[in-house]
Assembly symmetry: C3
Homo-oligomer: 352 residues x 3
């Protein structure tokens, strides 16, 4: 799609500096060396400022605070309040058009799919080829089920939710509105519970609960969410999970908490609202994490965090500042060790 | 299903205190705030005792040692030897009924499935829609293959094993009786082996071995077990693997070892029997772990452990107690550093 | 297949010591206790030398530098320049034969598959049952698509690339020649990008870019590679990824870099050529890693590495040698602490 610079400025509520009749049809990054003509990009981080004087982009979105150090001859500007927000808004507008042309056009059952006779499909549902919809399952309006998705019995999926190719949903799961699950997501597999026997072997503890996922939840590729032993594993409204995350049985994750890739959350942990958890961190079982907690990458949280709005890091987790200080000294341990040896020597010499 | 309290007490070999004719049809947890009428739960951990005086559950399973601090007016009791074991037994009985009504009823080939002409299917096998069974593959009695499972050529799966939707089994794999593989499990992909070439590039080392999985093995969602370069990668009887675990080529895991989520085991490592490995730990290649070793979460085991029945933790792994002591001092490094500086100052002052 | 020892020696350019007419039909490892007759194995690491005097293998490949300590009576030898290389060469020859008999024979579309009418399939392509090929997708000569693979719209896959069962490729991805993707690989899911809103919730940042994978790239089971926000996530020629790895949006991985299992690479990180990254390591977002960097297992790299050809380890990453020294002292922290306390006491006593 082609737009004039003037049209884009109108969408973003910005002002044009340069030729507003030039057309644009591609998104780019300002630090790309060979942006083609017709590209639009943005300048927000001033470490990239030098690119604006040489870029081939047809137009650059800049913030109203931007004062160029040199003259800009090679490109045109759209001046908005904040360059990054403006560009994000542009991405969203562009995405809306793309989505309308692709995702929204996927309607109906592609052949061959397996839809149980007791399944209920609302208006504008898409069921891709080789998808499997179990008995008594309900798919709300505009739900999009891509090829190779498996949905067991008695599952409820509310309006506008999208399950990409290869998602597996075990029976009795409940999924809210406007959710997006990427390929390879597994919802509702058995929690990891085994009762040790006298001979050292283990007997499976039946996992009779389910998973409840509220509205606006996004789950990344190959992430797994186990069902509860009894009761429910719960992802609250607006939770965002990245790829390859493990969510154990009976875990609860609070509203609008974001979790980066490869985090593991052990059984029955309860994570608050508005938390942010860094990649590859681990949360021990049966502990609680207060609202607005920030957990640094690769952290091992092994105890309940009761105070809201703190940042922790390390293995085991401690305060972020404490971790930074201790880590710096960890590097200096050989030096500290030497100092101690010297002190011992000196003291021995002086007391001889 | 509804049972009277008397019927449940009879199953568990317990005694009723209260009204034995009340019926129960739901499992619950004592700390759930709004347990519906008809719920049964248990009290084992005394930190939850206060809930027993207010719960809406119709009956609570308690141990024979339980002496209530207050009068219990609102619910009924079933008194058994040990509350937790009693509840687990109840779960198992309940699960048996559910399984008989669901899993055991899945029999026959659902359409469309792909079953090679030379494949052999014993009695009561289920092959779900869109499942793929390769040439010369044998499925034992009561094997249940869910939709979207792929089984390559020359695979043997023994009786009662269940492969949930989306499991992939490469050719020449052998799987024992009573195994459960959850969705997304990949068995037998190529081990990671590359021979460095003179120009810095790599050439694949062919992986010509297979995977052997013995009886009673459970594997969690999205876990991967690579095939051997030559010979076999082996999971012995009773091994339990959680989700998102990596098992490298030529690894051997001993009988009744349990491994938590996101653990990685590098090529040719040999893990003993009755071990327990915590989540996100890593085991280096070509090392051995003695029987009954316990590995704490997030540990990096980089050397052979020869002594049985020890507990290790840390990165790199050390004794659990040592790790705890050193970790506590890691937090105090800024303090220790200050002490050293003060000592230096003092000593300098005193020797001036 | 059976070969005489003489035939194998001819393939490897080696000399026979013993009976060159004996036939061999199995590959084995010298430390296997019950190698069947007809086995061939190799001796490279001299810690295994004692096996050569008792093995049942029909022939052992040895290097020309090998001087036996005892007389070898029980087996025959093929003497080559380097035993390990010789055996690897043998594996490769064996693999070629197997591949010709299996993979290369898979040609045509297995029923039922879904191939969009606008998709283009070159000569000798295989599309397995239940595979899905989207609109405008192009599969080059000899491309092999196994069952349950999903390929979205506008994907290009060049000659000889193999996608095993269950691989998912999102729209607009480009994949080069001679690539191998194992089961469960997900290419092109949405990058993890969310714009925080004033109320603490998040709005998805559209991910409008794609993934570009060059020639000779191998990707292990259940690894995920996210698409770029704008532009491309790029895996350069010869990259080798193990299982369960996360590659974030806009990441670039240089030629012939190898990455072990469960590594996570955050968005916009740029990794050089000829690097080797150990298992379970994490690379922070927006940083650069110089060519030929070696990263030890479980390392957390949180800052750009500018010097080529260095080795780092630890959390956070430091020089390998520094990490080893500091780790050794970490274990001794209780001892160091005691020394400091003693020094304080002594000094106090001496200054009293």
């Amino acid at each position: 799609m082609k737009f004039t610079i003037a049209q884009i400025a109108a969408i973003l509520g910005g002002k044009v500096q340069g030729d507003e009749n030039i057309t644009v049809d591609k998104l780019g990054k300002i630090d790309e060396s060979n942006l083609p003509e017709g590209s639009i990009c943005f300048l927000s981080n001033m470490k990239y400022e030098h690119y604006i004087y040489t870029t081939n982009a047809s137009v650059v979105i800049v913030g109203e605070n931007f004062i160029p150090k040199n003259e800009i001859k090679n490109t045109n500007l759209i001046v908005v309040k904040d360059a990054y927000s403006g560009f994000t808004q542009l991405l969203q507008e562009y995405d809306k058009i793309i989505t309308a042309q692709t995702l929204h056009k996927k309607i109906g059952i592609e052949n061959p799919a397996f839809v149980a006779s007791s399944a209920v499909l609302e208006k504008n549902v898409y069921v891709g080829a080789f998808a499997y919809i179990g008995e008594n399952t309900k798919l709300g309006e505009n739900v999009k089920i891509f090829p190779h998705v498996y949905i067991g019995e008695n599952v409820i999926i509310e309006a506008n939710t999208v399950l990409y190719s290869g998602v597996k949903v075990y029976p009795n799961t409940t999924i809210g509105k406007n959710c997006i699950f990427h390929s390879g997501v597994i919802i509702g597999a058995e929690g990891f519970g085994f009762a040790p026997q006298k001979d050292g072997s283990y007997k499976n503890i039946p996992q009779l609960g389910n998973v409840i996922i509220e509205d606006d939840v996004c789950i990344g590729a190959n992430t797994t969410v186990d069902r509860a032993t009894i009761g429910s594993t719960i992802l609250k409204k607006g939770v965002k999970l990245d790829n390859l995350i493990q969510v154990g049985h009976n875990v609860e994750i609070g509203e609008h908490t974001v979790i980066a890739a490869q985090v593991g959350i052990a059984g029955s942990a309860k994570i608050g609202k508005y938390c942010a958890i860094g990649g590859q961190s681990g949360i021990a079982g049966h502990i609680e994490i207060a609202n607005k907690t920030r957990v640094g990458g690769k952290t091992g949280v092994n105890a309940t965090i009761t105070e809201e709005n703190t940042t922790v890091q390390g293995y085991p987790a401690q305060s972020y500042i404490g971790f930074m200080k201790s880590s710096a000294l960890f590097r200096k341990l050989p030096e500290l060790n030497k100092k101690i040896e010297e002190l011992e020597k000196k003291l021995n010499d002086s007391t001889k």
